[in-house]
């Protein structure tokens, strides 16, 4: 991963930062420079909470290059409580325990790295919500 490219993605990758349109109020993840709903360029940074619901998931056995060392991994679509849908890996769970509709929360994990002389890509994954009393 190119260093500048990675750096530019960090706010969304690590903090789940998106955009809120000042004009129409629509929330987008990740950040945008122009609202796709109303075309306004008056956007402000919006911090997503990281809570969501798992909509659909699969367990991956044959991965694209860069992710082969993580198989088998669970990949799914998560709807954030604020609305946007995020494609992400689901971690901290055995594949056979994954259930659609499960409440999940964002965690920061290692996503991939292209080599020992390249930066490590950290980013969001989701895990079952930490239940407690």
């Amino acid at each position: 991963m190119d260093i500048a490219r990675l750096w530019r993605q960090q706010p969304s990758n690590i903090r789940l930062l998106g955009s809120r349109c000042r004009s129409c109020g629509v929330l987008t993840f990740p950040e945008r420079v122009r609202c796709a709903e109303c075309c306004s360029s008056e956007l402000q940074a919006y911090q997503f909470k990281g809570d969501g619901e798992l909509l659909v998931a699969t367990t991956v056995y044959e991965a694209p290059r860069g992710f082969v060392d993580q198989v088998p991994y669970v990949a799914g679509l998560v709807r954030l409580v604020e609305g946007p849908i995020v494609a992400a890996m689901i971690t901290d769970i055995e594949p056979d325990k994954v259930a659609v509709g499960m409440r999940v929360e964002m965690v920061t994990r290692r996503i991939c790295s292209s080599g020992a002389d390249d930066p490590i890509v950290y980013g969001y994954k989701f895990r079952p919500v930490a239940h407690h009393d």
Partner: protein, 379 residues
């Protein structure tokens, strides 16, 4: 209205061409198309999806033109992910109909087998959202697996029934000498094929392979009787993202581009003799059948199980084996479909011939259905 006439076609076998490079394949197919045509194109449009991603030639069309003996020509290299073949043809139609050229050579070419499969999968994944999908471990097989999962849950179909889409394609590929997987696929083979991403099996995916297909298109009707006309053409892209096909089980770009191309041709699907759709996976094949209205929602697998899609059926589809069994030449697949449809309309399809084929609908999709090009051909 005739948008163009196909006056020469050519294609290589789809498969593993260890002794041929990307340009070689394109030259082979392009040369065959030129040999058939009585005209000399002055422009060359090449559709290719992964060449530059996999480390191959950029500005590909220039190098192909030179190898075909052109001292000069207008060249374009078109990349629209797996829809590159359809996009290249549409670009050629634009050049003709703008009056810029009288004849254009269109080539689709792809050479993925030099790269190991995980690299090809990563290259294909870059046709999805590179930051938010490919960058997080999602490839086209992962997306297809998610769509299959939701299809199974939504419509209550058995996961094994996706076999019918693959089996259907293999039956036609078995008759086609130029196909990559020219054998019948048994239910047992399908069931035993390894999981790529649950429930997507190896046999649910169209195998990426090498190949090139080409056509010479002209605006003027040729002197000969043997002409294939392009009478409808539409290209549409919608907001990308795997979530829409996965969650909504719809391909709006496929649906709308088919509808526009048919409108332009003044036809409905009922009047179409055969269909070449984008079966990059069993689920994409199923969703495509539903998008163009051949099957109701959730009914595509049942349709494939019967013989409606066979050469003698009501709606012959994937007549040379489709991407699934002819082989998925990615950015070239759209041009394979065009060449195969042209062979049908010329009556040159041999064992794969659909009797009295008069019209064909050809659809090429990219970025998991976000981009669609549809062409309607007629004899």
């Amino acid at each position: 209205m005739d948008l163009a006439h196909l006056v020469g076609i050519g294609r290589t076998k789809a498969g593993e061409h260890w002794n041929r490079g990307l340009v070689d394949l394109a030259v082979e197919a392009g040369g065959a198309a030129l040999d058939e045509a009585a005209v000399s194109p002055t422009a060359i449009v090449v559709g290719n999806a992964l060449g530059s991603v996999l480390g191959d030639q950029r500005n590909l069309a220039v190098y192909i033109a030179a190898r075909l003996g052109y001292r000069q020509a207008e060249t374009h290299t078109v990349e629209s992910d797996e829809a590159s073949g359809g996009a290249a043809l549409r670009m050629a139609l634009a050049l003709l109909n703008a009056g810029f050229h009288e004849a254009v050579l269109v080539i689709g070419a792809e050479k993925p087998t030099d790269t190991f499969p995980d690299g090809v999968e990563a290259g294909r994944a870059n046709g999805l959202d590179v930051l938010r999908e490919a960058g997080f471990g999602f490839g086209v097989s992962v997306a297809a697996a998610l769509a299959m999962t939701n299809y199974i849950n939504t419509y209550g179909v058995d996961r094994s029934s996706f076999y019918h889409i693959s089996a259907h394609a293999h039956r036609h590929a078995a008759l086609n000498d130029l196909s990559f997987m020219s054998w019948a696929l048994s239910e047992e083979q399908y069931a035993k094929s390894p999981l790529v991403a649950d429930p997507f099996k190896v046999c649910d995916g169209a195998p990426p392979c090498d190949g090139a297909a080409a056509a010479v298109v002209t605006l003027k009707r040729p002197e000969t009787d043997q002409t294939v006309r392009v009478i409808g053409s539409a290209g549409i892209s919608i907001e990308p993202g795997i979530w829409r096909p996965v969650l909504e089980l719809k391909l709006p770009a496929a649906q709308q581009s088919a509808s526009r191309a048919l409108d332009q041709a003044g036809l409905t699907t009922k009047a179409i003799s055969l269909f070449e759709l984008h079966d990059s996976s069993t689920i994409m094949g199923a969703l495509s059948l539903e998008a163009i209205g051949l099957a109701d929602k959730g009914q595509a697998l049942k349709l494939a199980e019967g013989d409606a899609l066979s050469l003698k059926g009501a709606h012959p589809a994937w007549t040379f084996g489709g991407h699934k069994a002819r082989g998925h030449t990615l950015g070239a697949s759209g041009m394979y479909q065009i060449v195969e449809a042209a062979l049908q309309l010329r009556g040159d399809a041999g064992q794969n011939q659909v009797a009295d084929a008069r019209t064909a609908l050809v659809q090429s999709l990219g970025s998991f259905g976000s981009t669609a090009f549809t062409h309607v051909l007629s004899r």
